[in-house]
Symmetry: C2
Subunit: 419 residues, 2 copies
């Protein structure tokens, strides 16, 4: 077997399910595609992340098949999104986030109630059973903190009041969304809905976030202190990254999401005196792994199911369009629940993308049989339409305070400049 052993693995010749060639090709095509399409999107005046999502559709199994939907690529995507949220945390000022806590909470709650009740009502009106309608509504409640944070970073508005409100509301959304998911999944699995379960899930999720930040700040400072004494190469970046992974793992153990933990780890390390150095050390790693996440999300779109010329696709597509409209309107209006000197439409637009969190709801609904496959497609359509429409909208609505930052070195700029 002359082709077998060298191709399977550099380390072991035995069969272990991973084809290193396929993985490397997928990783490379995701990177090249993300950067080329990201560049195209920028030249068309759109955020780069839109190009990365679009190239994911093209590279995914339903078109070119270069990026397979499997554990190997998913793992890189998971690392990518955790790193991205860690970096967002690093760029977050906890005091500023605290100052916008009240309006962020108002935006988050309005942004959960409006889409949920709208989605539930439409699904019920079209004859879906209560459980399916609950999943449909729940899938519309989440905000994709990954996509939102990425667009805010590209537009250089993370530090603005609008950016902080959106970020705070998205974190609340993620935390509450996971509580809703846990409760709804329990009901779908045949359990009963009691106040004790809801209370425990809510307490764990919120308690974790508070504990992570409160304990993370002194722990992070101690870590940075010891790292400063190290002699071996690359300790600061590696240890900061390990810290993010550990808090992400703890988040999962506390029934929250790993990305929430990664964000908390970044926010804690942001309060050390090495914040800038950590950001410098972690940025190149984010640049390599985060695109894989967005390409993967795009690759989950099966273009065949979206063909309106096939009659069997039409009811699901129509419901999808309705849900997208409800999901868009509900989140956009929720932005006006904020107050203070902010561009409220921008806040609303920032809450629109559903991304990966909406996909979790849809997938769990399908796997617990609460959603039938056509309704699953409807939810996917709503998730993707809201995800694709938000970045250009945010770009149009960008608050004026964001301008004036200088481009980075080497011709690589953090936000689009005029042509």
């Amino acid at each position: 077997m002359p082709t077998g052993p060298p191709g399977r693995s550099t380390i072991r010749g035995v069969e272990h399910g991973l084809d290193v060639g396929t993985l490397f090709l997928a990783f490379a095509s995701a990177l090249v595609g993300a950067k080329v399409f990201g560049e195209l999107a920028e030249r068309l005046g759109q955020p780069a992340v839109l190009g990365e999502l679009a190239v994911g559709v093209v590279l995914g199994p339903s078109v070119l098949g270069l990026v397979p939907l499997g554990d190997a690529v998913l793992e890189l995507a998971e690392i990518g999104v955790a790193l991205l949220l860690f970096e967002v945390g690093l760029e977050t000022d906890l005091e500023e986030l605290g100052r916008v806590g009240a309006p962020a909470l108002a935006v988050a709650l309005a942004g959960m109630l409006l889409p949920f009740s709208g989605g539930y009502a439409v699904a019920r009106a079209l004859g879906h059973p209560p459980l399916a309608a609950t999943f449909v509504g729940a899938a519309l409640t989440a905000t994709s903190i990954g996509i939102t944070a990425r667009v805010l970073s590209e537009l250089d508005v993370l530090a603005t009041r609008e950016g902080q409100i959106i970020l705070g509301a998205a974190v609340v959304d993620d935390v509450l969304g996971l509580v809703v998911l846990a409760v709804v999944s329990k009901v779908a699995g045949g359990g009963t809905l009691d106040l004790a379960t809801v209370g425990k899930s809510t307490g764990l999720a919120i308690g974790f976030l508070v504990a992570a930040v409160v304990l993370g700040v002194p722990l992070g400072r101690r870590l940075i202190h010891y790292v400063g004494k190290a002699r071996v190469r690359g300790v600061l970046g590696a240890m900061s990254f390990a810290f993010a992974l550990l808090v992400a793992w703890l988040a999962r153990a506390a029934e929250s999401a790993p990305i929430v933990g990664a964000f908390a780890a970044g926010a804690a390390l942001a309060r050390t005196n090495r914040r800038h150095d950590i950001d410098e050390a972690i940025k190149p790693v984010v640049d390599v792994f985060a695109p894989v996440f967005f390409v993967y999300v795009g690759a989950e779109v099966d273009v065949r199911r979206l063909d309106p010329s096939a009659a069997e696709n039409r009811p699901a597509l129509l419901l999808g369009l309705l849900l997208a409209a409800i999901g868009f309107a509900g989140k956009f209006v929720a932005g006006f629940a904020s107050w203070g000197k902010v561009r409220r439409a921008f806040v609303g637009a920032g809450m629109v993308p559903r991304g990966e969190v909406g996909l979790i709801f849809a997938s769990v609904g399908l796997s617990t049989r609460a959603l039938d496959p056509p309704t699953f497609v409807s939810v996917l359509v709503a998730v993707f339409l809201t995800t694709f429409v938000a970045p250009p909208l945010l770009k149009v609505l960008r608050p004026p305070a964001a301008f004036g930052r200088t481009p980075g070195p080497d011709g690589e700029r953090r936000r689009a400049a005029g042509p």
Copy 2:
């Protein structure tokens, strides 16, 4: 199922075999362990890579079990070793490598013939069949370019004549080793040994390396030219990394090893005018992923099989010690096949570690049933002993020309300094 969906995946709630929590914990413990033990090794006057291998043994399934031997971690290790070889390629001067071509070839050939014939003779003398003896001998021929390059980089002698000879000989070893593996595997699988197969395998492997470098240099220059015009963030690092992954994938398609391709990609990009910028962009990524590889190699050691108080382990351990001695002596003596103004003992010591390539031989031998489990353990013992003995030996024998480099910024130094 309140704990299920949030823990499984950030992206999909469905079952897909990957537990993101386990992966993050394994990645984090590998990183923390590698840096802490690497630091300890440095303070004891040893290369950091020795600490990373040792902590792998501790974190692996046979002791703590924090780093499982499975696809998820293996994938990160594969990326790590490819990145490492890409970085080694970036730091390689092809012209200098060409100047040491003849002595490197002599060292490589002597370093394959001596251990092979010694290992074969001992195995035959102890009553092993010819096929098993062939695998035992073949497993002793390879040099771990990953471990060697890492130690040379830590000692800051990659650019010395000794470093270039070792690197050149290790590349030749890897290329020829994969040819030997392909041919031996074919025979073990019931095929016949004919000159056409040997010729084809040899031609493909060597042809690939030459083609990769010859075509890679102009292609790399063109790539860097376009990358310089990009607006989006992090393009240089991401595209260089993608280039490495693509050439690694091509190497596999050409029946060579991905790490050989990654090395060739780095050597090609080293001849562009952005060599330094690429190195800066890729270094933080290497710092995070390369340790996973060394921890993984360490984790493959099952300490229970190494217990000499268990009588059933002793014959295999004794054969292992014999093979380690032969493997050590054969490679060390081969260093004296070099010429010119070089410290030949250093060259010999640099060829000693077997690492991942020896493990490929042993694993393929086991999976094709050419090796029985005890003999497999013997080969593992020889592989690990030669791997562990080489770094401190290299440190002792370091040629004097290596001194005088200044430590890096932030207290992170690329080589050990006195305490």
